[in-house]
């Protein structure tokens, strides 16, 4: 690759029409959750912005995030991989292996120093000098630090890279940590989820490719457009929560009727993610829609916030002394609901704080 191409360059090179380019831009605008008035900006960005070379590293992970990535519907996986980014090093689907692959990756890092996007899937085991994950004869910790040096930005793909994930759950036998504990001084985007929703993953990559900058982030480095609300806030079963209509036991009458899963452990109230609004695979479903309580798989330390079927701490409901069991007895208006949600969030914070103190 001699020069970096913009998306429009690529479309021209591949003999794709202007019309198909524009259609892609419109689709992207939708995926990114931008308003239609932004379409001209997207088109302009896609015409001018060069495609960043992408390097995707794997540490302590299960490859579920790669699988999620290739499930993306809009944009389609093939379009992302072949037309929209230059995926130069990717062990799971890349053809090359071994020395040739390592050599190629080193060349890319040198040639595009300061320009490539580094995607990292998996946690970093730092115990015993990093020997629990050795790739190409070197520890993952070392390879990651090396690759991060020349990266324009780093994306932590999935909960393992963002927080440490399952291998970092108690007792964390390999002393696994989030990538942010190992690398610093680079713009970082966390895309947590176990795995993340495919379109969230490709959406963030596309945002960077199109606008040449990382999307607006919250205090935990998560893109606001995908992690700005809790699942509880956008859940289609929210009305049942507000009305106090709960599943009491799996496969009971409430389960069949699709009532709120809060009492059987749903973590929706503490789960910042797009499952409620976007759902999985262009709106097809998400765990709650399939009757399963959310386990907040995008939350930090969610693995140690078990047991999963135990409900979150009782919610103090405004204007009554009732717990969630009695929520149905009060008229739950929008304002009340907001306060209730706030109450839950505080309760969780409180619990976490207590746990932390206990640990110390």
């Amino acid at each position: 690759m001699e020069k970096r191409n913009s998306l429009w360059d690529v479309f021209q090179k591949k003999n794709l029409s202007r019309r198909s380019f524009l259609k892609t831009c419109v689709a992207i605008t939708g995926v990114l959750g931008l308003s239609p008035t932004m379409i001209p900006n997207v088109i302009s960005a896609a015409e001018k912005r060069p495609l960043p070379p992408v390097i995707w590293l794997h540490g302590h992970e299960c490859t579920g995030c790669d699988e999620a990535f290739i499930r993306s519907q809009s944009p389609l996986a093939s379009d992302v991989i072949l037309n929209m980014i230059a995926l130069e090093d990717m062990e799971v689907i890349g053809a090359a292996a071994g020395e040739q692959l390592e050599h190629h990756a080193a060349e890319i890092m040198k040639k595009y120093a300061g320009q490539y996007l580094l995607l990292v899937e998996g946690a970093v085991p730092v115990g015993d000098n990093g020997i629990y994950c050795v790739v190409g004869g070197k520890t993952f910790e070392e390879s990651l630090k090396e690759a991060a040096k020349g990266a324009a930005a780093v994306i932590a793909v999935g909960s393992c890279a963002a927080w440490g994930g399952i291998q970092a759950a108690k007792p964390n036998p390999t002393k696994s940590v989030a990538i942010s504990d190992v690398i610093s001084g680079k713009p970082l985007i966390n895309i947590p989820g176990c795995p993340p929703i495919p379109e969230v993953l490709t959406g963030v990559v596309m945002h960077y490719a199109l606008f040449g900058e990382i999307p607006p982030l919250d205090s935990k480095s998560r893109p606001k457009q995908f992690f700005g609300n809790r699942i509880h806030d956008t859940c289609y079963r929210r009305a049942f929560f507000d009305s106090g209509m709960f599943v009491e036991k799996f496969d009971d009458i409430g389960s069949k009727a699709g009532w709120c899963l809060y009492k059987v452990g749903c973590r929706g109230p503490e789960a910042y993610n797009s499952c409620g609004n976007m759902r999985w695979w262009n709106g097809l479903s998400y765990p709650i829609q399939s009757g399963a309580p959310c386990i907040a798989c995008a939350a930090n330390d969610f693995w140690d916030n078990d047991q999963f079927y135990q409900r979150l701490p009782n919610i103090p409901v405004p204007n009554t002394i009732a717990s969630a069991d009695k929520v149905g007895m009060v008229a739950a208006g929008a304002v009340t609901a907001g306060v209730v949600a706030h109450g839950i969030a505080s309760a969780i914070q409180h619990k976490k704080h207590q746990e932390k103190e206990h640990k110390e």
Binding site: H60, T63, G64, I81, V92, A95, G98, L284, S290, W303
Partner: protein, 626 residues
């Protein structure tokens, strides 16, 4: 003599390194080692958790084998607690399993293994008109006319069908040309595209296969829509101890499962059948026929000597695994060990393998002679010493390896053995076991087993080779995986029909909640969950004490296949298959990648078992079934 290292082995799950010593004159592999180079410790993390949560933890062993470990886990916990799941839950789990098998095999063939056989560079040499014509020939010559019992055919016509027009192949070729010319090869970068094996197939086959590579990349997700409907997401759908959480109702607007949801699943199931019958199998058989005619049938290795399986697909629900109920109505009775298939099915030796055997310290053992742990005795997995002992490589340092030490320790994978011997697992193993059991009159075949035997006989006829000649090779491992996909495409439909019929009869139950509360559990209980996921025989083991997980163990397919050698039992399956492979260009070991990929390696699965702290994992020094 030349020592070649391939690390990382790409297009697999996890971190695998292989080293081969090649005699440059003959191309013969003199020695080969396989090393799992990462360990995460999921089972350690499982300890002390609520047994009802375990499926979520265990499932994260692997995201490629998603659902696989969750299913084995809930089966183990249900066995321990004596929970019989409802009929619907059994059907739904089998649908999730069958969808997974079809999708996993198809992705493996096109997107992980495919580029070992076909090349975008070769595709450029194709004549598009000839490719279109060849596509027609392939569809006519290389289809297998078998199907499962379908009572209600819902698919009006094959929605996805290979395009066999000149213009289509011209377009595809033009796009490939642009990619190659631009120098932006991306995922196609830096591979050995000039390897002579890419010339085995005519350019038109390359073009067709690359077109289908792209086509299927965008269709594979639609093969597992059942995971979204019944489990809410993929990867990592949600399970429930006691059944499933996706309640069924035709009376409620918001029910997780209703007619519309079943229609989504049905569409996906139908796609599985067409994708396998019109894309996957014809492409695979066409490539296989050319390779078989070219005499490229090496890489059989350990499969010639010994294969192992556990059996799966309970046709109806069962009361437990440990009590033998699970094995009583399986559609796929691949449980057993078959030795000596290399001498032909008549001379093959079948050994039964039952749940009680797994407890027997004389049947399953593990050795750590060449694994980074202390100890040298062969011991039952649940009595295993698990003190890590990471040692330096032969050349290089502990954190910067040149060559690993084949005479010392060199992998995080342990070496499991059956009666002191190595065994290969996977679709090939399933086919060998079922074929042997049926042909030797050991069992009357179910419809699944009959279809498997018919497929093997049909492929033998097509290739004009006896089964042991084509099956026991790199190609055979890949071909039987494709056959497996066809069977499971129909298994998918079969269980969806059973589910619908049962709902029609008035039964909408999906969960047995009688033993949901820990207060209803015994103080101490233990159980096993068996499964035959895409990569072969899997077992999960759980010990529950006072409502918590006291011990959790998984004996995983890729551990059997990827394990290091043993001074008494010989080489592991990957190692033997590599030694049984000829390499034409040592510094471009395409054949090594191909034979390793034929196992569909999953290293996160293989290397998750051991406790880094050097403590025994939970109660590993006592038999969990005492």
């Amino acid at each position: 003599m030349k020592r070649i290292v391939v690390d990382p082995v790409s297009r697999i799950e996890g971190h695998l390194r292989v080293e081969v010593v090649i005699d440059e004159a003959s191309g013969k592999v003199q020695d080969a080692l396989s090393s799992g180079t990462a360990w995460r410790g999921i089972e350690v993390v499982c300890k002390d958790r609520d047994p009802r949560d375990l499926w979520a933890f265990a499932q994260r062993i692997c995201g490629v084998c998603t659902t696989v470990h969750a299913l084995a886990s809930v089966r183990a916990v249900e066995d321990a607690l004596g929970i019989e799941i409802p009929k619907n839950a059994n059907y739904i789990r089998n649908i999730i399993f069958a969808s997974q098998t079809v999708q996993d095999h198809l992705i493996h063939f096109y997107h992980l293994h495919g580029l070992d056989w076909v090349s975008p560079v070769e595709a450029l040499k194709a004549n598009p008109a000839s490719a279109a014509s060849l596509q027609n020939t392939i569809l006519e010559k290389y289809s297998l006319p078998f199907s499962g019992p379908i009572e209600f055919e819902t698919d009006a016509y094959p929605k996805d069908f290979p395009k066999a027009t000149t213009v289509y192949y011209k377009e595809i070729q033009a796009k490939i040309k642009k990619i190659v010319d631009s120098g932006q090869l991306g995922i196609f970068s830096a591979h050995y595209w000039d390897h002579p094996d890419y010339a085995v197939l005519p350019p038109e086959v390359h073009l067709i296969a690359i077109a289908h590579y792209l086509n299927m990349l965008d269709r594979q997700k639609d093969l597992v829509l059942s995971h979204l409907i019944f489990g809410g997401k993929n990867p990592h759908p949600h399970y429930l101890v006691g059944g499933m959480s996706c309640s069924i109702s035709m009376n409620d607007m918001n029910a997780p499962v209703n007619t519309e949801r079943l229609a989504v699943v049905d569409t996906s199931v139908n796609l599985g059948i067409t994708a396998v019958n019109y894309f996957y199998l014809p492409d695979l058989l066409a490539i296989g026929d050319i390779y078989a005619k070219a005499g490229l049938l090496d890489g059989g290795g350990l499969a010639k000597e010994r294969v192992l399986g556990f059996g799966d697909l309970p046709d109806e629900t069962y009361t437990g695994t440990s009590n033998g109920s699970y094995h009583k109505n399986l559609l796929l009775r691949s449980n057993g060990v078959v030795e000596n298939f290399g001498q032909g099915v008549a001379n093959a030796v079948y050994h039964p393998f039952e749940p009680k055997d797994i407890l027997d310290p004389n049947v399953i053992t593990e050795s750590v002679e060449h694994s980074w742990y202390e100890g040298d005795a062969d011991i039952h997995p649940w009595k295993g010493e698990t003190k890590p002992k990471f040692t330096a490589p032969k050349e290089g340092t502990k954190t910067n390896w040149k060559y690993l030490d084949e005479n010392g320790k060199y992998s995080w994978v342990k070496t499991p053995k059956w009666r002191g011997k190595m065994a290969e697992v996977g679709p090939l193993a399933r086919y060998i076991i079922v074929y042997t059991k049926v042909k030797q009159g050991i069992m009357e075949p179910t419809w699944v087993e009959k279809m498997m035997v018919d497929q093997v006989d049909a492929v033998s006829k097509l290739l004009n080779l006896p089964p042991e000649k084509w099956m026991l090779s790199t190609l055979g491992r890949t071909l039987t995986r494709g056959l497996d996909a066809q069977v499971f495409a129909y298994v998918n439909k079969y269980f969806l029909e059973k589910l619908i019929k049962n709902i029609k009869s008035g039964d909408t139950t999906v969960a047995n909640m009688v033993k949901w509360e820990p207060s209803s559990w015994p103080q101490e209980a233990q159980g096993v969950g068996l499964h035959e996921p895409p990569r072969g025989g899997l077992s999960h083991w759980v010990v529950i004490k006072n409502g918590k997980t006291a011990n959790y163990q998984a004996v995983v397919p890729s551990t059997w296949n990827a394990c290091p050698r043993d001074s008494k039992a010989g080489y592991g399956a990957y190692e033997m298959a590599m030694i049984d492979t000829k390499v034409k260009v040592p510094e471009k070991p395409l054949e090594i990648l191909k034979v390793i990929h034929s196992f569909d390696p999953c290293l996160a699965c293989a290397t998750h078992v051991f406790n880094a702290e050097g403590k025994q994992i939970a109660v590993v020094n006592t038999d969990p079934f005492k």
